[in-house]
Point group: C2
Chain length 293, copies 2
Amino acid sequence: MQTIDGSYIYEFSSANKPINSVKLNETFSIKTLDCYGGQLKSESDLRADFPNLKINPATGPIYIENIEKGDTISIDIKRIELNDQGVMATGPDTGILGDYITESQTKILPITDGCALLNNQIKIPINKMIGVIGVAPEDHAIPCSTPDIHGGNMDTKDITEGSTLHLPVFHEGGLLALGDLHAAMGDGELDGTGIEIGGEVTLQIKKNDNFKLKTPIVETDTHFMVIASAEAFNDAVRQGMLNAISLLQHKHQIAFADAYRLLSAKGDLRISQLVNPKVTVRMALPKTVLVNL
Amino acid sequence: MQTIDGSYIYEFSSANKPINSVKLNETFSIKTLDCYGGQLKSESDLRADFPNLKINPATGPIYIENIEKGDTISIDIKRIELNDQGVMATGPDTGILGDYITESQTKILPITDGCALLNNQIKIPINKMIGVIGVAPEDHAIPCSTPDIHGGNMDTKDITEGSTLHLPVFHEGGLLALGDLHAAMGDGELDGTGIEIGGEVTLQIKKNDNFKLKTPIVETDTHFMVIASAEAFNDAVRQGMLNAISLLQHKHQIAFADAYRLLSAKGDLRISQLVNPKVTVRMALPKTVLVNL
């Protein structure tokens, strides 16, 4: 199995040269650094002491053979392996309650027995996930810290082992990159971080001829989740709803108002993160009302 | 078993006279009207034709014996039985995408085989829940359409069969009332309605001597969810986070910053509704990190 490693981007862009290529349906793996580029190694490494730290390195970009602009790719996330310690760096102004925090702190959380250990005291059950994953956007470059319709820093905890991420493609070969794994993160990423960690992700990419996507969708065993990012929360919500309503209309051949009702009755508006340059929400549609896209 | 029925309030207030009393640990039931007071009986009954319709009747208030101001009550929701048809009334300006809706419509959804049927075509699996439930607030009256720390129109889908709602009490006897059942509703209540329906709810109320609550908490098999409502979304989020952090600090005897990290790593910020006079969110804390309150 091919393992891709050692080259990182800090912005998604069609100007980035691919470091490797993969075939459709090939199983391969990607090694990733944590969002701090692996620079915060102990609790004495404070984020404030690294003012020029480039954050959110994504390993890639990877050229996907036989993929063209306008295609949709479906990325099966086969396996996520984590390194043996995670890190959380908080300080004044990090996250939603940053105004309550007076001190910069770095916490190292060893990973053991399926848990991350905070202060050698509190066992936090892990929920592995991929924070940053995407393709080259249509025109200008987008920093890896920012989510958008190309993917990027979506920080969506359902992008995890066993799920499938469907992405639109804007350039030949797609130019996939990923990084920013979390050992655990709750919906919202409320203090500005998950349990940040490096690791290795095993993937398989398929071409999806069933539909043309405008925006990322993550598929779990039970749900299709339409992902939407925008600077304002309300704009992300409306964008996610409109795209979900389109799917429901297409599936059921119903009027807008009926799809709107169906969404209200069974769609869950979930929050992915509220702390990146754009916020991300997802409209979760249970497969019980939307069996196939 | 005592069944309470036939008297409705449209605002929670200590000025309302109780219609009945219940004992602690007594199992009793409450019959409720739908949020339209049962007035929209067919698809030709448009909401716009009832300009003076009083919405969100709550059955009660009920005096709970041996409950004082400052107590916490724990309401076990034993059973929710639904009537045989639900209703959704939408029109211009209802819900988050009301600007896309040009026409007032009422849809009647028969309930059969565990599903609500939209347009005699789409089966919507039911998820029963209580939209309005609360006690008399501390000082001024609060309309049943508005959620706040006394409860009210929290529209939180985890307030359902099998869960327990913990509420602070502001007046002797509590003065409980409830209504606004939904046959189904997704997180957000995005078009402004669930599948609105009348029915009967079976409850048992206990006095909770373990903790003094400032705000409602709903407890499921897996989570404690701290409920917060405010006019601005961001204020509701911060309020919910601060109350959840207090719980985590109390449980683990940890500093604010550590509880903040724990919340970010394992707490899910969920949206209850975005369409009432105040929006409601809930901070879901898995029992794996917060075994007992």
